[in-house]
């Protein structure tokens, strides 16, 4: 772990001259480890499972439907706002415009939740999102145009002969897998304070990225929009093994919780 970094992006990217070489064996080893962990809990069962960021955080079974709905909408809007920031826009104070843009391309179930939201509740949500985005813009700053970046990066990796699906979405991926050193860093934004669940999510992102590309990322981070706190971890075998074990735990409990 890195203590008190001077700024989020500089801590994430670090010193390019000190990055370790990309190790293809690490990616292959992690896949083998995950397959073994899954076999240990599932055996030969043909059961199909889907693991999602929500199941990794332990949120899929949240009992308060209203709170869950607000949180999902807030998360989606903040994610869209981050894309606006990284696309050169200024979303702070423009949550209404953001809402209109987001709803035009939101997945149908989420768009339906948004449409059903009572007007006063929607107004409160937009005020909170405005505050989140102002904090985010301060934390992110300006990315140099030369940095390769992917926003809203989705992944769907299948393991155990396709019966276990790992779905993921990371708000920002910086760097490239085509260089000789480990260059990729991951940043995800959450709308809750940091905790055990977000730490598991941070590690899960690194696991899925490793399985997807065959190259372990350099670092993985989670930024809490409301508190502007972040947690960064260097990615190594121990972190990836921990994430693989957690996926196996979820599989043992029945997949998407």
């Amino acid at each position: 772990m890195i203590d008190a970094p001077p700024s989020l992006l500089s801590a994430l990217r670090g010193d390019p001259g000190r990055r370790p070489a990309a190790d293809p064996a690490l990616g292959a080893g992690v896949r083998a480890l995950l397959e073994d962990e899954l076999f240990a809990v599932l055996g030969d069962s043909p059961r199909r499972l889907v693991v999602t960021p929500a199941s990794v955080r332990g949120l899929a079974g949240v009992a308060d439907i209203t709170a869950s709905r607000r949180a999902r909408l807030r998360g989606a809007l903040v994610g869209t706002g981050l894309r606006v920031i990284l696309g050169g826009g200024r979303p702070a104070g423009r949550a209404s415009a953001l809402w209109a843009s987001w709803i035009s391309e939101a997945p149908a179930p989420l768009a339906a939740l948004a449409v059903d939201l009572p007007s006063p509740e929607r107004q409160r949500l937009l005020e909170v999102v405005d505050e989140d985005l102002a904090a985010l813009a301060r934390a992110i700053g300006v990315l140099p145009s030369s940095w390769a970046r992917r926003t809203g990066a989705r992944a769907e990796v299948r393991v155990r002969a396709g019966t276990v699906v790992l779905r993921d979405a990371v708000d920002l991926v910086l760097g490239s897998t085509r260089v000789a050193t480990r260059d990729v860093v991951l940043l995800d934004v959450v709308t809750s304070p940091l905790g055990e669940g977000t730490a598991r999510l941070r590690d899960y992102h690194a696991l899925v990225e490793t399985l997807r590309t065959g190259v372990a990322p350099l670092r993985t981070a989670i930024l809490s929009a409301p508190t502007a706190e972040w947690s960064i971890a260097d990615v190594d075998f121990a972190l990836l093994a921990r994430a693989a074990r957690h996926v196996a735990d979820i599989a043992a409990e029945g997949g998407a919780r």
Binding site: V84, L86, G87, R94, A97, R154, V157, L211
Partner: protein, 262 residues
């Protein structure tokens, strides 16, 4: 005819390009006969592409531009600018591409449902979302192409029209990689490959051969699914081109049948 499925790791693209054999050549007159037959079966205007093959000839719902849908077109233009040395980064390339589209949209001389008209009508938030999506697309494609040396170029789609107002055959292409006198075509897709992804690729292979004056198929057609970390590829041999042509005929028949029923 072989369909290969591989994990998309650094080095995969390089391998797939290096061991591609020269593509098959359509016999003389075969292209015109096939296009004529497809037009006849489809009974009118329409488009046949990999989507139609993968979705059993069903025509998609009404199209509307979104940032995600625009990213490929805008990203292609931006990457071409970067590759041509006109701009230093994908971010600058996307900004220039959007400026050009906006200017074209402002003339009013474009179709109201065109990308230029849509971009012209975007507010700051919408523009930023398209920028972010297109820059991400550029990073994805650049990552893929990075392993195949310096010779790759951004490709335009292969399009064959049976006649004015007739059937349009379209093979989407994102990259063309020349290698020892052959060309390998790469198509970048979203999500995870479905069970019909192979037939979709073969149909695109056939259309790519039909679109060339000499009737030569690409040496290999690679479908890259970066989100799934997978690459599917078909060799441009005669069996694959024939299989692609058969799938196109089936899809045209369904299209024509649906028209008759309507």
């Amino acid at each position: 005819m072989s369909l290969r499925v591989e994990r998309l790791t650094p080095g995969t693209m390089d391998r797939l390009v290096a061991d591609a054999s020269p593509g098959a050549v359509l016999p003389e007159g075969a292209a015109a006969r096939l296009v004529g037959r497809l037009d006849e079966l489809a009974r009118g205007a329409g488009t046949l592409d990999a989507w139609a093959i993968e979705h059993a000839g069903h025509v998609g719902a009404d199209f509307a531009w979104t940032a995600r849908r625009a990213r490929r077109r805008v990203g292609h233009g931006a990457l071409a600018r970067v590759r041509g040395g006109r701009v230093a980064s994908a971010v600058d390339g996307v900004a220039d591409e959007l400026d050009d589209l906006r200017a074209r949209g402002a003339t009013g001389q474009v179709h109201p449902r065109s990308l230029a008209a849509w971009v012209h009508g975007l507010d700051e938030v919408g523009t930023a979302l398209v920028t972010a999506a297109a820059v991400a697309w550029c990073a994805e494609v650049d990552d893929l192409a990075g392993g195949v040396g310096a010779s790759w170029r951004v490709a335009t789609d292969a399009v064959v029209r049976s006649r004015p107002g007739g059937l349009v055959l379209r093979a989407r292409r994102d990259l063309v990689i020349p290698h020892e006198g052959r060309s390998v075509v790469v198509r970048v897709r979203s999500g995870h490959p479905g069970p019909s992804a192979g037939p979709g690729l073969r149909a695109e292979l056939a259309v790519a051969a039909l679109a060339r004056a000499d009737g030569r198929a690409p040496a290999r057609l690679i479908g890259a699914w970066p989100e799934a970390g997978l690459a599917l590829s078909v060799d441009g041999d005669e069996a694959a081109v024939r299989a692609g042509a058969r799938d196109l005929l089936r899809a045209a028949r369904r299209l024509g049948g649906a028209r008759l029923a309507a």
